[in-house]
């Protein structure tokens, strides 16, 4: 076994200095427990928030670029002053959206692509009038992005000609039940009457009060955009890659692709600050753990100066001496992090059982593995300075040391 003697000497030294070893182990364990618990808590909290946010929206929205005014260049020799108003953005289709959809389908990391036509309208029932958002979808594709069929509270999720699926709030406002008729007004006398096939509740007020899901064709005719799709919704396998993929889509298609991070910039900013503060706390806890290991081993080198000298006189090399102390650092890190990791999991379990129960913290075994690995590396790094001192001791001096 390689390094057998280093391991043997290191473990015997640790065992002999039981009190020191125990104290520093408890110190490391507390530090690791704090890091594990904090990381699990924040990760759980954030993934909960992100899931809630992304449960009702696509990771990337692809839209046509904005229309801009084109200004005639001034005649040579003349100066032109322009007072320009931004152009009103009319609802427009994505050019060749079928081809764009097929291109997006082939992109790596993209898990679902769904063309949507969406625009404003009025929903009317008797005298009651509500402004709504018409969403014309290709149902099988759309469900891969937002699985509304799981949130149906009445009726069924069915998108066929003449069928609509509406939000619970809208149904309440208009007094609609599944199976009732609803009149939709797209403006300029474009009206149609649809059958309410199902009612969904996503838990987001804006959506529950406004969304009316229809077949694409129906919306196209209501909005007078035959054959159009105004948005292509895209999901990706890793939500944090959304920005990268969005940039790539823009480069490929020339369309405006907006990731959920841009859409929810404030949320992202908050999450990022939260992660940053967690990392800061973890880093400082890790630093104090590292300093603890370093100081315990430094004291140990001084205490064992004579023994180090004897070992050197008996043919122990500098490298072996160095490794004896690096192994001690690694063992501190490993044992401390296993203890601390278990304690951290205990805390997480206690939180899940007795805490406010607003959300559940998932416990990943990888966090423990990562903590153990990191703590071992930290232990080795912290041991570097004392180990180098042990290795560089002059054996003559060391043996005389009392």
């Amino acid at each position: 076994m390689p390094m057998w003697i280093e391991w043997t000497i290191a473990t015997k030294f640790l065992h002999e200095g039981k009190v020191q070893s125990t104290l520093i182990l408890v110190g490391i364990a507390v530090g690791v427990a704090v890091i594990v618990f904090l990381t699990a808590l924040i990760t759980g909290l954030q993934s909960n928030i992100i899931n809630r946010t992304l449960g009702t929206q696509a990771h990337i929205k692809v839209q046509p670029t904005e229309e801009r005014n084109r200004i005639l260049p001034p005649a040579t020799g003349s100066v032109q002053l322009v007072l320009e108003d931004k152009r009103a953005q009319r609802l427009r289709s994505i050019n060749n959206w079928q081809q764009v959809r097929d291109v997006l389908d082939t992109l790596p990391r993209v898990t679902a692509v769904s063309p949507v036509i969406s625009g404003p309208a009025f929903a009317r029932r008797g005298e009651a009038l509500q402004s709504v958002v018409l969403v014309g979808i290709d149902a099988p594709r759309y469900l891969r992005i937002i699985p509304i069929q799981n949130d149906i509270v009445a009726g069924v999720f069915r998108i066929a000609a003449g069928d609509a699926v509406i939000g619970k709030q809208l149904a309440t406002d208009l007094g609609l039940r599944a199976g009732d008729k609803l009149r939709l007004d797209g403006g300029q006398q474009r009206e149609s009457v649809v059958n309410v096939a199902g009612i969904f509740e996503l838990g987001v007020r804006e959506l529950d009060a406004r969304y009316v899901y229809l077949e694409m064709k129906q919306v196209q005719s209501l909005l007078n955009l035959p054959g159009a799709a105004t948005i292509i919704d895209v999901t990706v396998d890793d939500i944090f890659d959304a920005q990268t993929v969005a940039t790539r889509i823009t480069r490929l298609t020339g369309l405006k692709a907006e990731s959920w991070m841009e859409t929810n910039a404030q949320l992202m900013n908050a999450l990022r600050s939260q992660s940053l503060s967690t990392q800061m706390i973890s880093a400082f806890v890790a630093l104090s753990v590292a300093l603890g290991i370093a100081s315990v081993l430094s004291v140990s080198v001084v205490q064992r100066t004579r023994e180090i000298g004897i070992l050197r006189a008996m043919g122990t090399t500098r490298q072996q001496m160095l490794r004896v102390f690096l192994v001690q650092g690694a063992l501190f890190g490993l044992a401390g992090s296993l203890l601390g990791g278990l304690a951290g999991y205990g805390l997480v379990g206690a939180f899940n059982t007795f805490g406010p129960k607003l959300f559940y913290i998932p416990v990943s075994p990888w966090l423990l593995v990562a903590a153990a690995g990191l703590a071992m590396v930290t232990g080795i790094i912290s041991a570097a300075v004392p180990a180098r001192r042990a290795a560089s001791l002059d054996p003559v001096e060391a043996i005389r040391h009392v």
Partner: protein
């Protein structure tokens, strides 16, 4: 076994000098060009007053320290140009140390202490190495105490463990720095007797630093060091 048989030469010093604080105003030369040979089977006492350079010389011979000038041949191999790794390897295999204080390592048992020079060189000890350690412990009169920790032994017993440890690698040269200086006279005699026996049995050269004239009188050869020079080098009957 002739005196001039080179293969029997264990140690040769050639104009060996040692200075401290080299290049500083406080530079001081402790050893002034020593020439010396030790043969296999030599049983030699190194005597001298405090400050005569005995310990310095022993550290140089033990490759724990480097000479300022001159050359030191160990088993006919020049050692001054060796790098630290090579010196450590030679030290581990060719030289056995016994110090004034036993210098055992508390964390290990008696047997493990004896096996330490082997474990450091080759890792986990093999069956025959363990047997060798046990038989050495038996030879120093400590059989049955293999699993004791050093602090459970008397001073004389500890020093006998140290002797066994020094011999476990079959060193060509055994260096002992006042090995009995800290023992009562009965224990001292026993330890000295061990050196004698091992010198005869294994043929390892012994160089013994001592203040004790009773001890040096029993050696085959006595080298007297005065102020960093060899004043006399006498062989006995």
């Amino acid at each position: 076994m002739s005196e001039h048989d080179a293969s029997q030469e264990v140690l040769r010093l050639q104009g060996l000098r040692k200075s401290y604080n080299v290049g500083k105003p406080t530079e001081v030369e402790v050893l002034h060009g020593l020439d010396l040979r030790l043969q296999r089977r030599d049983f030699t006492a190194l005597v001298g007053a405090s400050g005569s350079g005995k310990s310095t010389l022993l550290n140089l011979i033990g490759l724990l320290d480097r000479p300022t000038a001159g050359e030191l041949f160990l088993l006919a191999e020049p050692t001054r140009s060796m790098d630290d790794a090579r010196r450590t390897a030679v030290r581990g295999s060719a030289i056995g140390f016994v110090f004034q204080f036993h210098h055992l390592i508390q964390a290990f048992t008696t047997l493990e202490n004896v096996l330490m020079p082997l474990m450091v060189a080759t890792g986990k000890p093999m069956r025959e190495q363990i047997d060798r350690g046990r038989s050495l412990l038996a030879q120093v009169g400590l059989d049955g105490l293999e699993q004791r920790k050093p602090d459970q032994l008397s001073g004389g017993q500890q020093q006998r463990v140290a002797v066994a440890r020094a011999l476990v690698t079959h060193p060509a040269l055994l260096l002992a720095d006042e090995p009995t200086g800290n023992l009562d006279s009965k224990s001292a005699t026993e330890v000295f007797q061990l050196f004698r026996n091992f010198n005869r049995e294994f043929g390892c050269a012994v160089l013994l630093v001592t203040h004790d004239s009773r001890m040096s009188d029993q050696c085959d050869r006595t080298i007297t060091l005065v102020d960093g020079n060899i004043e006399s080098d006498e062989a006995r009957g």
